[in-house]
Amino acid sequence: MIVLLGLAYIIYFLVLGAGFRQTVNLLIKNKWILETKTEFVSHAFFQGVFFHVLLFNTLQLFNWSVITILIIIILILVAAILLIAWHASSISSQLSFKWLSPPTALFSLACACALLIYWNGHMLPNIAWDSWAVWEGRAQQWVLHGLNTDIHDWDEWLLNHQSIYNHAANYPDGLSLIYYLPMLLSNDGFAITYVVNLFAFTLISMLMVQRLAKNNGTTYLQAFAMIALFTTPMINNHLMIQGYADIWMAMYIMLLLLTLVDCKESKRIDTGIALICYLFILPMLKLEGWIWLLLFAVAYVLVNLWQHKKKYWITAFTLIFAFLFASNVINFHFPFGDLVINQQRIVIFNLIDTPIQFQNITDQLLTSFLWQNNWSIIWLGLPFLMVTFLTQRHDQAYKVAQTFFISALLCFLFLFYFTEASKWALDLTAINRLILQLTPCYLFLLFNMLIKVEHFHPEQKGP
């Protein structure tokens, strides 16, 4: 029964997402293109999740009863179904269907991996501390006290009589809102969302192998990539023990990079809009989503600047500007916070405000990257990825993806070595989870690099 309810929740996301895509297509008068089944289903699903979070964030602004909220949801679903049906029938002659089935063997492999994880995970109650206290906990608070009830931490809760308390009230609402609807309608909301989590990751794995296939990766390489994705221990942990937002962050970062490649290839506006959706859901899921969003924007700008004719002038100007900025000659003050980076302090708007102090976390870093489990083997590929990034020619999208990954890696190393965030590295908690967020993206880049290795024959001049 739980699996069926989980499937119903998946279909809800699919309808929402497909409806959202068709609305966008109608507005921009775009031709409706269904790529492969997997790609259509995947993007519909993940855009459905984005639209759901956005919709419920909006509904939180109004003091409406549960019945009103459910009626609104049903109306939106009906509208989405009618829109899809009407749009499909009215422009059927223009439809560009490429009903390519995903390779059955790979799809079966992904399902088998997901089912094996479900075999263990479905028996677990919510054992993840931050989840029952914060992520799932806030969904339950909304179910009991009303969706529009404000949740505050101690100081604000004392002042605001209508609000309810949560010690992590500043965390974004995204994941809690994914839990909210099934919890509102069923006592098994947590278990239902578990089915959705595994389905989402199965889609991501299929999207990754399809992109590898498009880049000439053989079926064996695709199967290897899929097995690596499912058997990487931290990913596997978060698929078995659900409740944290990190696996969703990992999925959306991966999706972001895959969509960027699609976007550069197809040059379609709707793919660009999908890219923006995936970019903006990151800060809705976790606070560090803002960092990933900013880094992605920086990577995009840097890669574009590097292709500019006057790139050396721009580089020199940027370095001088960075020097003045770090020397406290220039500071930025905005209504939403300051931007200050110098030897004493780092302030990034209202997101980060921390003194700079060195903390040696090398042991913890080595333990996290290397000694814990088999994922250390994949990290041996990191130096090679760095070298090929500099020495080989890549498409612009891959350059952005690699620049994003490397800058994300450098950024979190800086935060853990030089800021108060080091305490989360010393107890091996946040450091492992941050690495997890980047792991699927890294695996994709690594296997993309291995395609060239796979096609190398001794007669060729060099790998």
């Binding site: 809760w157 023990i241 088999n374 908690t429």
Partner: protein, 362 residues
């Protein structure tokens, strides 16, 4: 393949001397006979939560520091039971968690060359009730022999497999990492496979071998290490099944306690709500411990906050709009409020019993 074979069976030491004797520990164990007995060719230890097996070091015929391994043969372990070897050297306490597999070979470094410095050597068998409420105090483990020995008398592959096959139980903190950072039993496997992968990559770069061969190498390395990971996961299935049978959603016995207390507090608060209809906010006084946070979780239908500082919430609330909940040891504040200056005779005790009490400002 040759490189893989060399990497996997490589041993840092090159002597293989069977002449060194081993030291069976059974005759030197001091333990209550009813908890430790011999039958069916095996020794059995009943584990009523925790069982301590002292090792009489004074009667040992050999110098302890001569040995560098503890070996358990035919070990029939339980997923929720863990054995540790513990000792003390110059007031520093050492602990070694023993590998959970049939032939358990555990390297031991006593951290001293002087046998007289080794004190309080004992085996501790612990139940791990961290997950689930179905723990039985009838659990027992069995083994054929337990003895001290030398690693060089063990085959390298057997020693390696003992580490790599070590069962990693699922814990509350498991979401943050697969293995505990203090017990990195896969480290030697990672060294070996990593070496093999690097050798293969260098061969690819230097000798221009076929790319498919290199990829096959990576695949085999991954599958080899994943085998131990997946086999541990399969064993976790039994652990989870045992811990969370009957679809119960309580995390462990502490959680069960907090739910029981939450039910009592709920009943009392519902009664008080008739007496004080305007009060709808509650403060649970205490630390962010697992018990208190789970208690707060079970009381989530109330508008309830938790604050670690008992004095701050009382002083910072300007009116009588809160009811404060004190539990466990904090009940003493309600029993004798006059003894505590910070209460300043300004509180009214609404309810008190042995488990919890309710206060409000006068």
């Amino acid at each position: 393949m040759l490189a893989l074979a060399i990497c996997l069976v490589y041993s840092g030491t090159n002597s293989y001397d069977k002449s060194n004797n081993s030291l069976p520990l059974i005759p030197y164990l001091k333990v209550e006979p009813k908890f430790f007995f011999y039958s069916d060719n095996h020794y059995h230890a009943a584990v009523p939560g925790q069982l301590r097996l002292n090792i009489n070091t004074e009667k040992l015929p050999h110098d302890l520091t001569h040995f560098d391994a503890l070996i358990i043969t035919d070990y029939i372990y339980k997923q929720n039971i863990q054995i540790t070897l513990n000792w003390r050297v110059k007031d520093h306490v050492y602990q070694r968690t023993l590998n959970q597999n049939t032939h358990s070979i555990n390297p031991i470094d006593f951290q001293t060359k002087n046998v007289d410095e080794i004190e309080d050597l004992h085996l501790m068998i612990n139940s791990l009730p961290e997950l689930g409420i179905n723990h039985s105090f009838q659990d027992q483990i069995s083994f054929k022999s337990i003895h001290l020995g030398r690693l060089e008398n063990q085959s390298q592959m057997a020693t390696n497999l003992s580490h790599w096959n070590h069962f990693t139980p699922l814990k509350l903190s498991a979401i943050n990492g697969y293995t505990n950072s203090s017990n990195l039993h896969l480290k030697s496997l990672i060294y070996r496979l990593g070496s093999w992968v690097i050798i293969s990559t260098l061969m690819f770069l230097l000798f221009k071998i076929d790319g498919k061969h290199l990829l096959l190498t990576f695949f085999m390395a991954w599958m080899f290490s994943s085998f131990f990971f997946v086999s541990s996961r399969l064993k976790q299935h039994d652990q989870i099944k045992h811990a969370f049978s009957n679809e119960q959603k309580l995390i462990n016995a502490v959680d069960q306690d907090s739910l029981r207390l939450a039910d009592l507090i709920t009943a009392q608060l519902n009664q008080l709500s008739k007496q004080f209809p305007t009060i709808s906010r509650y403060v649970l006084v205490g630390s962010n411990s697992f018990f208190k946070l789970r208690l707060k979780h079970h009381l989530r239908h109330f508008n309830l906050a938790i604050h670690f500082d008992k004095e701050n919430p009382l002083n910072s609330s300007r009116d009588k709009e809160f009811i404060f909940i004190a539990v466990k040891q904090q009940v003493r504040y309600c029993n004798y409020p006059a003894r505590f200056d910070w209460l300043d005779n300004s509180v009214e005790v609404l309810h008190v019993d042995e488990d919890f009490c309710l206060l409000r400002k006068k």
